[in-house]
Amino acid sequence: MEAAIRARRNARAVAGLCAWQAVIALLAACPFVTLAQAVYGRAPAGDAPLWREGGLALLDALWHEAHGATAAARTAAAILIAGSVAGLVPLGCLLATMIHRAGGSGPLGLPRALLRAGQAFPAFAILLVLLGLGQGLAAAGAWAAQSLGEAWTRGALGEARAQQFGVGLALPFALSVAVLGVLHDLSRAAALRFRLPALPALVTAGRALRRHPAAVVWAWAWRSGASLLPVAGGAAVAARLGGRGGTALVVLALAHQAAAASRVALRASWLARALRAVGTADPRKVYFDPSDR
């Protein structure tokens, strides 16, 4: 069972999560696109001047449309926040699908996946608040440690070294943010796999993390590190193609979407690993829910 929980066996579910993110991203992009369309959409070359080398038209538009750009940014932020909360449902669907398929059954189907995700949503929401708060506190601790470390050593070390020392002091807090993130995903996995409320799920996740801390954190870390590579690749392609249109724009769009999709795939791979990890800490000694068959 455990070995069967794999992201690659659930390509459609992973693609579904990709599609969900693409839809939300498109919605969030709409205010910017509408603004650009209104300003340059009727030009013979469309928005090409905005991408011209030197950025004169782009800066000019940002200045003249500052209010519109601010409104667009705020709207996009609101859509992203709402999309993030609502994103707990497709995340739950992915987790439910991976568990279900690992049990040797056929596809879970969207309605049942949605049902399972819906059932887990309250726990997910509570975990989001609790662990989000914890991560926020750890981040504040990182900031404070960096600031204090820099202030204490500035006189002796000078600015650059003091700031680097401060960053060193902040590293444990930054690591805490990461570990809390890992715990968050493990908790989600436990909540969905064992139908647990938030706090028991958190306890189960903690137990799983305690058993194999290095293996679990490493499993998250290498995937997180690897997920930066597609971003760098996308940036390199964008740097090469600039603001060209036509085929170059299509190539860039494909490169960017490939980058986004590969990040989702890495995330799904990690979530599958989280599901396997919490299996070792099963509070009810049940590896999967027979009702999922």
Partner: protein, 632 residues
Amino acid sequence: MPSRFVVITALLTLGVEADPPPVAPGPPPAFDERLADHADDVADYSLRATLDPATHSIHGEGTIHLRNASAAPLRELWLHLYLNAFKDASSTFMRERVGGRGSEAPREWGRIDLRRLALRSATGARDLLPSVELHRPDETDETDARVPLPSEIAPGESVDLEVAFDDAMPSIVERTGYAGTFYMVGQWFPKLARLEPDGTWAHFPFHHLSEFYADFGTYDVTIDVPAGYVVGATGPVVERREEGGRVRERHVQADVHDFAWTAWDRWQTLEANVDEVDVKILYPRGFDAIARRDLAAVRFALPYDSLRYGRYPYRVLTVVHPEDAAREAGGMEYPTLITTTSPWWTPPSVRLPEIVTVHELGHQWFYGLVATNEAAWPFLDEGINQYAETDAMGAWLGSGSASSALGLSLSDAAIQAVAGDRGVHDEAVAQAASSFSSGADYARLVYSRTAALIATFAGVYGEDAVARALGDYTRRFRFRHPGPQELVDSFESVLGREASATLRGALFDKGWVDYAVDELRSDAGPAPDGSWSGSALVRRRGTLSFPVEVDLVAADGSTRRERWDGHGDWKRFAWHGRAALRGAVVDPEEQILVDQIRENNQGTVDGAGSGAPRVLERAAYYMELALQAVGP
């Protein structure tokens, strides 16, 4: 300043693009050989400065040699005691506080106390100190002191003034002061105001937005600091001794009109010879990479500016790069010594250290060598120099001269153009620094608007022509304190009367311009011979006029370029072609950087353009990344 870069750092470090090959500025004009070798010495200073880090104070003493180079006898002297700008909240500087650098009161106040001022003569020294008027009646500012003379100084006659003074350095504020054991020492000695040819003194208090104006002379200054301190100062070291736990460095520099120095027991040094000039970069520990970037900027800009504006005449150049915490000391110019700024972690794609270094280096010409009145006409130094900066940065780094990442390049010139647009209707560019309503308008108009204006002339009339006009101005008026008329005359001699009238209108009369594509018309179908007819109406709004290009775009994608001399309020371009007229673009090469609104520079006949596919693609991708970052 650098904090604004924190957010974009992560993005900009990705996808950094390679630097383009620098563009050579071409051979120097033939008349470079006729450059003035030396300035007309008027005020020579022989000073000794002793730093006491325990009290953050400097004791100074020495002699000022003044020659009455004017046509009138002198009955008074004016001394600038600018360190008193930081004496308390009642100084002109602190009361004005219109925003920008120096707007925060220093943590520790500073001041200059004149201990001795005596007129030396054959019979001894006559004490002038009791007669010094530190301030006017009903005025609390003590930065502009009047000194009545017991007897006239005839034209051509010289006198020696013995001076002694004590400086209490403020915590770092507006280019001067201390931060820990770091000292940036500017405006630190009693300095004669500029003696104009008619015998009047161009004197003024230290205004918040104002800089300086003084006569040329030779500065012979011995700086005495504790052992272990590294000194950087105007002019080369001609003598150095270390004894009794002190270091004494004597710096002598002719043909300059100010003297500044720095001392710190933590300076690191990077040295190189660039274009036969000994360049020294003073930087803090941990700033090695940034220091190399500073030096790279000097390596490009020093020979570039020398070719553009006449050779750099000094043997040395010192670049001071303070820590970010002392950035009030950064971004300032003194003769042969400039200060730059940027945090040690500035990513390579953000050209902040390069821009600041190139800018301050440019001041060696635009303030240093032409020595304009910075208080009365700040655009003559900051504005023209801002153009020199954007020109050099563009020649060096191309369209990504401000930043270049993710396929998006921002040029220094574009940033100045848009910033300059923001204040154009508020106030005139050409006015005294103290007349500006705010630091923001001062920055937008004096720096950015002037730079965009000169760049527009370069775009319209050609870079070579503008380089000739500016080169002629800087060479002819080297060491000669020109005013705005001399600049306008130089432009007129190269670009013609119409261009000089436009320049004057833009500088003095809040001149502006906006080109716009207005009505576009195309026949519904082709004529019997298969040709299409139509027209494009282009308007010129505002008070300035530049020749401009217009692209008429056909439905088959072909383009026909037209040129309009810019005269009149509008011009209608007729279209006859094998395909229907689809649209028009005015100023397609973005030559007119002062065009007020670029959004109306294009249009299509039916309003159906090509949309915003690039924005859609990028925005959607970046939103995906953002969602992945904040989402579950």
